[in-house]
Symmetry: C2
Subunit: 308 residues, 2 copies
């Protein structure tokens, strides 16, 4: 890739995802000028202090003004209001995108506000850590992770889609395309239901009276710890995810509960064969993930090897 993919990019919302995008765009020389805006003055001050964005603006409209790409990096529940606010400032031919974890409700909330001649290409990078805020980003976050691009409808300009794909690929991601409803179901399985389950398990441990909190923490390496990492994600983001992907998440949780009851019954009845067979099957899925390069089998779980 020679030269930037977009001359001017605006990042609305400056948390983990946006700040990682900024550093990844700089690393790859993918954008000319990057403007940024965050609702909180404290976040804007932090961004100015650490050099996050070439120019930090005091309104979303000012940041969006004249930009070729505007990326909404705010919680899913705030996307509609932000789109309404920036709409008058959008220049013809610009592309609006987002990074929300839910796509159908974001399309429903954002599309009605966008003027004719502005392209809308939602996207969802599947990457994150349990940290949030403008100082949590790093250039390597998207390396070898997936980004799902979800064109708002069948009429979306293919050129606008191709350009957004090139940006994500330049930031290190592998890009897939799918429609919004399928995206929301896939994510309910791979992300939204697991997060709710992790939150629940951590909550159970928290108000057990016969086991002290210090015991739960001391002995967490026996399995519980892996749940706490994903249960430490940003509360506002996750509230919005569940409220906006309600149907698919409740569907998967219903299946989960059924399945759990069958296993509980096997434990109660002492059906060791059923348990053994089930646990053997789940082990094979893990192997698939390692083979697909989305994790490693190093004894340290390979987290250090993520960025070679």
């Amino acid at each position: 890739m020679s030269g930037p993919v977009y001359e001017r990019v605006a990042l609305i919302g400056l948390g983990l995802i946006a700040s990682s995008m900024f550093w990844a765009m700089k690393r790859g020389g993918l954008a000319g000028e990057v403007t940024g805006y965050a609702r909180s003055e404290e976040t804007r001050d932090t961004a100015r202090r650490i050099g996050l964005c070439d120019r930090v603006c005091d309104s979303a409209a000012e940041a969006a003004e004249g930009a070729d790409l505007i990326v909404l990096c705010v919680p899913v529940g705030a996307m509609g209001a932000v789109a309404e606010e920036i709409a008058p400032a959008l220049k013809p031919g610009a592309t609006v995108s987002d990074v929300g974890s839910v796509k159908r409700s974001v399309i429903n909330a954002v599309a009605p506000h966008l003027p004719e001649g502005v392209h809308f290409v939602p996207a969802h990078p599947l990457a994150g850590t349990e940290h949030s805020g403008p100082e949590s980003g790093f250039a390597e976050l998207y390396d070898n992770r997936w980004c799902i691009v979800v064109p708002a409808d069948a009429d979306t300009d293919p050129e606008a889609v191709a350009r957004l794909r090139a940006l994500w690929e330049g930031m290190g991601a592998n890009v897939d395309e799918m429609d919004a409803d399928h995206h929301d179901l896939v994510l309910a399985v791979t992300s939204h239901a697991p997060h709710l389950i992790a939150y629940t398990m951590v909550g159970v441990a928290d108000h057990l009276r016969r086991v002290t909190e210090s015991e739960v923490i001391k002995y967490s390496a026996a399995g519980f710890r892996d749940f706490t990492r994903i249960a430490a994600s940003d509360p506002t983001m996750w509230r919005d995810v569940f409220l906006n992907n309600k149907e698919a998440t409740l569907d998967i949780l219903g299946r989960f509960t059924e399945e759990l009851f069958v296993l509980q019954r096997a434990i109660r009845m002492g059906d060791g064969d059923h348990l053994h067979e089930y646990f053997t099957r789940t082990r094979a899925i893990r192997r698939g993930i390692i083979e697909a390069g989305q994790d490693t089998e190093a004894p340290d779980f390979g987290r250090a090897a993520k960025t070679p």
Copy 2:
């Protein structure tokens, strides 16, 4: 510590836990001679090939003969039979221990077989990876992890307990003592219920028809991946854990289901405040774990930093 803690140690069962014990004892000069036995000839051959144990024996009784410490490193459901087999070979004053994840049922299964004059000091090292077998062990597995020592009854010889504690401390572990029932409840919360839940979630993903397995694997980094790691643990070991810690595990799973239903209802009713408050509370628990040194907040999740 000058000189070995035990002159002769026998490891019965040669999987991840026993092989890590062997390498950790060698690292610390904690044992004179270490004998080993595994039921499968293939495992014994592998052990001989890689130098796991000073002497690999062809029967459990032969390995236990003359040992000062005999550690049962077999699945919880096999402990009783192994104890019966080695009982005639045990020398007076020897200590029998184990590494099982459940303590009450192991005590019930093993204690009746042990002759007078033999000490029984069960233990449970809270450490592991998703790998199993004689080649999966490494000397650092227990560094800064907890080992819970559970004296079989109030009459257990304090000297025998102190010596076993010294061994585990020499292998890098922090040692705690508690009674068997409390241990089983604490572990149901921190380990057994989380594992069953992880197995269940992976199983749900496996037989969803509208989402392909390759999609689940490709997009696993969004949360699901953390579940697969613990759902890849040894099926026989885990079957035995659930069958032998039935009551405490079912108790915790019952609480978990109640809690999950309350959160599902909040999603269905659109109660964002309830969700936000819940997710804020669980985040604090995560911070406690990091402060207790049982995980780190490094962007790579600190797995590489485990062994400083």
